[in-house]
Symmetry: none
Subunit: 415 residues, 2 copies
């Protein structure tokens, strides 16, 4: 049960990974899946499609780790050099493997495709390699010993790689190193506080032994992650309760939950309906709410009123009010929300008006100035904010703040 | 001009990078920007927030490369250990740097925020480091010599990192190694064809020597990338013209351009204005249009009409028409667009109505059925589509298709 955790490394191969044309989502996927099964990846590396560079990286990682998980470079074209480099690092040579040829032929038959002359390259694999089935593509995976470690090779096509990882690589790791058992993990998702404040909130907290706390910044959320050792679920739950107490109202969701899901549930539980009146967010809040299936049960309508004329015509905002207070003002925000509610008859109406930039700021109302109002049948409250950052960040901060205001209001409605 | 290219490495630091909690987009961004300036990244590496592991990785990469670009671990919390590890690798110690304190104080003043005790940690940087300004956050970057190489450190927050990279790191690399001159690279961005068809369109094309062609799938776009050797601009231009001829109307933008930018320019050039009426996209199209600074010059207003009542009240769609034809129909799409145009007086009005799923499909109108209508003063044309995939993909396909219809219409207006 308590096998010592092996050191594991992930190696990603491909020119495209080193000129920024694609982001290495394979490495993140492998790490997340191994982590969920109790294994930890110690380091990752990427190298280009060059035989010597790949072989060197394999040897480097094999000398420091018990296993190396490799993706990429197993395709049929001439720049696919991973198998040759694997043979170099393993001290063997390539040989045409009859099992690989049989796989190619069966795959082509199943897909009703012709085999290309190029595909023959894919039958040449290190002589000492154990082959790993790939039901979804032409490139087989394989495992080969490199010095004292084992290296597992998979194609770079994500959905093929994911299948081989589950079917062959994870079972092989468990066979070789024992099953570490899934590690307990909890996430507290916070919004509305600067990074440094997250640390201050948690300072001096006494976590149960074996529970590790980490921060993860997923703009604009701050995640506090609690990870435990095997069979420490109760300790991790206790740690989560301690942290929950510290973070208070900044907490917007936990674990697999998201603020969007929380909000959707609250709408369904309270039976409240919503209308929106957006200026600087330009439809972002509506797009976020309607991204969720079933949102038509509570979302009635939204108005994106960029022009002052639209604010007056669609939301009943008096032109004189805009003239007197400015389109970006608490008064206009309030009038927008009230107008949206009257139009739609929704339980709640939320409005935003602000200056997302880069132009339009003044000394009194700099870029980032935003007013958000929330109206119900009885009342309408408006708040002013000054959000930092560029146009995109101001729009995202505004959207999150609006969703969070809705969440809190629905919580009070729920009672 | 033809300085020898230095070997460059990218090092990403953070536990979250090794348990799959976040995908390392910073490394891809740095590689892409360096590639665009003629530099090539030779290898990348990720290590956890452990002082010894970071220092070891720095020394390893510094011995093999002329420069190491590092992100992450410069925040104010206790798991931010990069500065200490940098000092270890550089053979120096940390010292509280007065410039860093002044930066923190000025930043807090500008943001109207209090400094936290935790932030003081961010003033402790390697004694021998040259500081790199960060106008967007509390963590300064810094450059420090490690053995014969220089390592450049930046915070992991993407938009802060991107700014420091442009303002300080790339200029420092050019000063140290000379300007390699940008390698010619062209991108043709296609929309509206399945991935496999992109290959068929290009099949048998004869590219000039030294020009390399690659595909990159960025849902829902397919990018064809042409890369040349130094001083092969003319050959790459010729290749681009050849490919352009093959891909025809699928081409939506080229190189640094995007369909959003193309659309914005066309609006400004034609003087046309726009209003929107969205049902299944729920504000996504409006959010996309208004993401661009200056969009208020042509975007007047949008209505997100989820309920039938909203379609009638906000867009003048007769309730009987909805009753007779269904909310998802060419007739209702046409009425929505015409209503939006009459309300706003815009040159063009675009509407969408559809079934994004997962519920709401019928045998006659399955999930993915979408109607898009485009109205001007003279006419209103509506088209039906059946988009594949889940709710999110249907919404993205619909948004792209709508933007593309607008692009084509504006091109005819431009004449």
């Amino acid at each position: 049960m308590t096998a010592t955790l092996p050191n594991l490394a992930v190696l990603s191969i491909g020119n495209e990974l080193l000129c920024g044309e694609i982001v290495d989502t394979n490495a993140a996927h492998i790490e997340a899946r191994l982590f969920a099964r109790g294994f930890r990846v110690r380091e990752t590396k990427s190298v280009p499609d060059e035989r010597a560079a790949i072989a060197e990286a394999l040897l480097f990682l094999a000398r420091r780790n018990a296993a190396v998980i490799v993706t990429g470079g197993l395709g049929p074209t001439e720049d696919d050099l991973t198998a040759a480099a694997a043979a170099d690092a393993a001290g063997t040579t390539l040989a045409s493997r009859p099992e690989a040829l049989a796989h190619l032929q069966a795959f082509a038959r199943r897909m009703n495709r012709q085999l290309h002359a190029e595909n023959e390259r894919q039958t040449f694999l290190p002589q000492t390699a154990r082959l790993l089935d790939n039901p979804l593509g032409t490139a087989l995976g394989f495992a080969v010993a490199i010095e004292a470690a084992t290296a597992y090779f998979m194609p770079g096509v994500p959905y093929e790689m994911e299948r081989i990882l589950e079917d062959s690589v994870i079972p092989a790791l468990i066979e070789a190193f024992g099953d570490p058992g899934a590690l307990p993990r909890r996430v507290l998702k916070l919004f509305g506080l600067p990074e440094a404040e997250a640390g201050a909130l948690i300072k001096g907290i006494q976590l149960p032994p074996g529970v590790e706390l980490a921060y993860c910044f997923k703009f604009p959320e701050v995640h506090i992650i609690l990870r435990g050792v095997p069979e420490s679920s109760a300790a991790v739950d206790a740690a989560q309760a301690l942290v929950r107490e510290r973070v208070g109202e900044y907490l917007i969701a936990e674990d697999e939950d998201t603020i969007d899901e929380v909000l959707a549930r609250l709408f369904l539980e309270t039976g409240a309906t919503l209308s929106l009146a957006e200026s600087c967010t330009g439809g972002l809040i509506a797009a976020r709410i309607t991204a969720r299936a079933g949102s038509s049960a509570y979302f009635l309508e939204g108005a994106v009123t960029y022009s002052n004329a639209a604010k007056s015509r669609l939301l009943r905002v008096p032109a004189e009010l805009i003239e007197a207070k400015g389109a970006v003002s608490a008064e206009v925000a309030r009038a927008m929300a009230q107008g949206a509610r009257l139009n739609s008859g929704s339980t709640l109406a939320l409005s935003v008006t602000g200056i997302a930039g880069p132009d339009g700021g003044t000394p009194e109302k700099p870029v980032g100035t935003v007013y958000i109002a929330l109206a119900d049948a009885a009342d309408c409250e408006a708040r002013g904010y000054l959000f930092p950052g560029d146009r995109e960040r101001v729009r995202v901060f505004t959207t999150y703040t609006a969703l969070n205001l809705l969440r809190r209001r629905l919580l009070t409605l729920k009672g």
